[in-house]
């Protein structure tokens, strides 16, 4: 036990041989000039170093035996300590015998090195291995997702790291307990587990922290930074919830005081920076940045470049507001080489738009140190290899890399490597070839008595309209529409749109009637409704639209359309067509029958043609239809046309039993 106590003086004694040896080194160097003056000092130095080393090593060994140190961590320190001691003995012996033997200098250097290394490993034991790590720039704070707070890693672990781990870690296990990682915690220490699951009140980590500070068991020990009450609250909550290491929950699910405690450990959204100088704002404006406030009452700004060229004034302006710029947009700019060092200075930049710029792979590494959340690289020549350094970026959430040199094959692989949302812009189902819309005519007129010319709308780039006049379906060999199509006789026009990369449209069909008899004299035997009257409209070649109130339709409520007209020899026709509409909401139904009667001077009217209409199904939408009958008017002088109203609305109609309407816009003789 006393021996164990003496062991504690190891850290004090170790410094003696190191200092003494360094002093000896100085003497040796001086002795090269004036041997006699310094040889005694060398000898004394060596003796002092040797005995110092011997005592240190012995005490060290005692300390090691008393426990608390991991064998593997101590090994190099221990061995090197003894090696140094032994080599010092050899040096002393050599110097006694032959002064500066030729082995003396190399051995001296080796001993200095060995004792230095021993010290280094010792230092690692007391201060931790990270102590000697080179200073690295602090990584940008990770983005906080309030929907998924990992209670352990984002808060609890940080309490342990800050307040406990310096004495309870892998290489230094005070009381046999290590708290540097979950696995070690669950192994417990000499007194058992640090916490009882779901029971903070019975957990040592909490009860020890609440002991009076003078108590030997109080943790952290007197003189060390203590746990704050909110940290204890957070630890208790974590233990009561089961002391899990990998569960996460939305922020709002925690009790309010726990939320407050957690918040202390979350990185701040935006750091405190100085105010934006008016001169900086003016410089940005002068350099053609559109500047807007990012958030009221803060100096943070968003800047979009609206100029033409990134010149030195632009870079200087960025420099002046380097801390305050949160959003920077430079779309489609040619970025000079000296832009990139400048960009690195924007330490609070969260969103960066570089779409359409000349950024290269090499410059992407410059972006890894910025606290970016969103980076737009659309339309730039970057490659899969180029963006890989960004995949581990701690704060980045969105990376837009559509229209870049990253092949489709590589995209999925890249996404697998990172939680950052990579957007490549391949959207299933949107890129398939689609069918064009059928062509549209500029004119609605389809009835004529002499000559008609028709035109199509054709505004679409690369769109080709092909048509036929003989009733066949247009294909890629049919005539191409360029100028107006003249129509001189009754025919059917069919047309389709064609375009590279698209499926051809459905066929557009229009029937044209060259009317042989233009009706000018007629006798109406029935009356249309006053609201939809004007009998001449039946013969004006003006077709109605699907809107029954467009003024081109004649409407008959409950009654038929009957009229007579004289016909001369020259006007002999082969067909009679009547054009009607149907609209359920308008109570308009197609006629049930359409007949043509004829007579000459000596006979009565005799039916020469009829058409009975039987609908195939119950109509659902507004439509137009033409009914045509073939006639032979040879030898007749007068025709009578009868279009029979269905009478009452049929049983399927919402207003069944009411008077049905008959609507006619044109009657043609051709």
């Amino acid at each position: 036990m006393w021996l164990d106590y003496i062991g504690k003086f190891h850290p004090v004694v170790v410094h003696l041989p190191i200092g003494a040896l360094l002093f000896t080194l100085l003497m040796v160097l001086l002795a090269l000039k004036q041997y006699t003056t310094y040889s005694k000092a060398i000898k004394l130095g060596l003796v002092f170093s040797f005995f110092g080393a011997l005592v240190s090593s012995s005490l060290g060994y005692v300390l090691y035996r008393s426990g608390g140190y991991e064998a593997t961590a101590v090994q190099s320190h221990l061995i090197l300590g003894w090696v140094s001691t032994a080599s010092l003995a050899v040096l002393w012996y050599l110097f006694e015998r032959v002064a500066f033997h030729r082995v003396f200098f190399p051995l001296f250097m080796m001993s200095t090195l060995a004792i230095g290394l021993t010290g280094h490993f010792g230092g690692q034991l007391t201060h931790g291995e990270e102590y000697f790590a080179l200073p690295t720039p602090a990584p940008p704070p990770a983005r906080v997702n309030l929907d998924s707070i990992q209670l352990y890693s984002q808060a609890v672990a940080q309490i342990f790291d800050k307040k406990c781990v310096s004495c309870h870690n892998f290489s230094k296990r005070k009381g046999g307990l290590a708290l540097h990682q979950p696995q070690a915690m669950l192994e417990g220490g000499e007194r058992g587990l640090p916490f009882e699951m779901n029971n903070a009140a019975e957990s040592r980590i909490i009860t020890y922290a609440q002991l009076p500070i003078e108590d030997d068991l109080h943790m952290p020990p007197q003189g060390r930074p203590q746990l704050t009450s909110s940290e204890i609250q957070l630890l208790s909550y974590w233990i009561d919830q089961g002391a899990t290491f990998d569960t996460s929950a939305p922020m709002e699910t925690f009790p309010e005081e726990v939320q407050t405690a957690i918040t202390q450990f979350l990185p701040k959204e935006l750091p405190d920076v100085g105010p934006l100088k008016i001169s900086a704002l003016e410089a940005l404006q002068a350099a053609q940045f559109r500047v807007s406030s990012h958030l009221a009452d803060t100096p943070f700004i968003q800047a979009k470049f609206e100029g033409k060229k990134i010149d030195p004034s632009v870079l200087n302006a960025l420099d002046a507001a380097a801390e305050q710029i949160v959003v920077l947009e430079l779309p489609k700019m040619e970025l000079p080489q000296n832009f990139w060092p400048q960009l690195k200075k924007l330490t609070n930049l969260q969103k960066l738009r570089l779409d359409g710029t000349n950024i290269q792979d090499a410059q992407l590494t410059d972006l890894t140190e910025l606290p970016l959340r969103s980076l737009n690289l659309v339309g730039t020549p970057i490659t899969a290899a180029g963006i890989s350094p960004l995949l581990q970026h701690p704060t980045l959430e969105f990376l837009y890399a559509w229209d870049t040199k990253i092949e489709t094959a590589a995209q999925e692989k890249l996404q697998e490597q990172t939680p950052i949302k990579l957007v490549f812009g391949v959207f299933e189902g949107f890129a398939a070839p689609q069918q064009l819309k059928p062509p549209q005519l500029t004119t609605e007129k389809t009835l004529f008595d002499k000559l008609l010319s028709v035109d199509f709308y054709n505004k679409v780039k690369g769109n080709v309209i092909r048509y036929t006049l003989d009733g066949t379906t247009p294909d890629s060999t049919s005539a191409v529409y360029e100028n107006s199509i003249p129509i001189a006789k009754s025919l059917t026009l069919k047309a389709r749109s064609f375009k590279q990369g698209w499926l051809p449209s459905e066929v557009f069909t229009e029937d044209y009637f060259k009317v042989r008899k233009k009706v000018e004299n007629y006798t109406m035997l029935t009356r249309p409704s006053n609201r939809y009257s004007g009998v001449h409209k039946l013969f004006d070649f003006e077709e109605g639209t699907l809107n029954f109130a467009d003024g081109k339709w004649l409407g008959f409520s409950g009654n038929d359309l009957v009229f007579t007209t004289k016909i001369s020899k020259q006007e002999a026709v082969n067909n009679v067509t009547v054009s009607c509409m149907e609209s359920i909401g308008g109570w308009i139904i197609y006629p049930k029958r359409f007949s043509v009667y004829a007579r000459n001077a000596s006979t009565d009217f005799k039916r020469i043609a009829k058409y009975d209409y039987r609908p195939e199904k119950i109509p659902t939408e507004n439509t137009k239809k033409s009914f045509t009958v073939a006639v032979d008017t040879e030898g007749f002088t007068e025709l009578k046309v009868v279009v029979e109203n269905i009478g009452k609305l049929p049983s399927w109609h919402p207003a069944a039993g009411e008077d049905a309407w008959l609507f006619v816009d044109e009657v043609l003789f051709w």
């Binding site: 003016e282 958030l295 100096p299 979009k304 779409d355 837009y400 959207f427 189902g429 949107f430 070839p433």
Partner: protein, 488 residues
Amino acid sequence: MDPLHQHFLNQNRRHFLQKLGLGVGGLALGNLLDPFGNSSGSSAASLLQSGPVPFPNFAPKAKRVIYLFQSGGPSQLDLFDYKPLLNKMRGQDLPDSIRKGQRLTGMTSGQESFPLTGSIYDFKQHGESRAWVSELMPYTAKIADELCFVKSMYTEAINHDPAITFFQTGSQQSGRPSFGSWMSYGLGSLNDNLPAFIVMLSRGSGRPNGQPLYSRLWGNGFLSSLHQGVQFRAGKDPVLYLKNPDGVSRKERREMLDYLAAMNDEQEKIFGDPEVANRIAQYEMAYRMQTSVTDVMNIEEEPDHVFQMYGPDALTPGTFAANCILARRLAERDVRFIQLYHMGWDQHDNLPTQIAKQAKDVDQASAALIMDLKQRGLLEDTLVVWGGEFGRTNYSQGTLTDVNYGRDHHPRSFTMFMAGGGIKPGMTYGETDEFGYNIVKDPMHVHDLQATLLHQLGVDHTKLTYKYQGRRFRLTDVSGNVMHSILS
């Protein structure tokens, strides 16, 4: 009359107060023209704020809004709100316990019975979010995981014009500023060459002669006329009266405007009416728009794959799909509020045929717009809203047949969807009862939607006010709650 007395009469109280800077409008105008010219604050950041009330109040998630207004009231029961019970109970009367005395329009209030009808269209769940979408909207279904469906919208209005006016201005009576005008006023413009608020209309092929829209829906109300929505049209003249008349060159126009501005300045000095300054600014904006509008409307420069993405309609100017491409082009140019109206969603009869055509008009283009914004990195700060002014009834208007039915207006529950701008993707918010009639979970009022949209733009909806006729007016009137559950 004494000229001095005349002068004081002309300079009335309102002008006087506005000149003193009590109206935010005057200062916001300053921001639009010269963000720093008439401020004298000490810190540069405070100079960047538009008025005495500083915006943004929160770091904005969205910079701009694309509002795809489906005018007429799309049937939620045939598009998104799947109610199998209605198919089961087809033809049975709507129970009074569900209707609870709901006020009906004159179109069905006289109806003897209210036969329930489900949709004749199939519904399926889509994406990882398992959102219900009917077969009428296959492209929307494909991107379900990008969308936030709100199934529990409700309004008080039962007829089109008051209902649309309510959505756009926060009041059923006309006369208040439209949403886009409030935004332009509160947040200012991000592009000097285009208006901050642009409107485009398209006709629905399902019901081409449907309800008309009125330009007061994009009016500035009592705000400065600078904040008025500007309608862009398809065809030769996208903005009416913008072109120089034949024989007038751009240089001559410039000289004319300079001279006119000088004369207007004189007038302003005499009368002190701020609208004179607004008029000068509007003339200048129109002059700049002579080139900027031509540029933005030049849809021909879009590559073919864009047209393929938005669908064949996009090739025809004036269609919803073509307007969607334009909306994306305007978003790229940082226009704050882009409002599309697609008409014809008013399916009182022949619903199955009409709605299929309506859906075809908008489905692919709406979905393509959202994905196109996404691939360009614009969706994260563009909030896309899709929806009508109310829903439609769960019972048939007119006779119900096997293949045909109609639906009347229904204010108590309907579906909208949103995407981007910090709205949570892949979620469905709110729920209606089995009859699809009443909301049973998480209701969202029109004012709630407005408050939420403003919140995403960084604006506290209770702070965006304008004092007029003795009252501070708000877009959300005296209510509205930000729906935090749908925010990411």
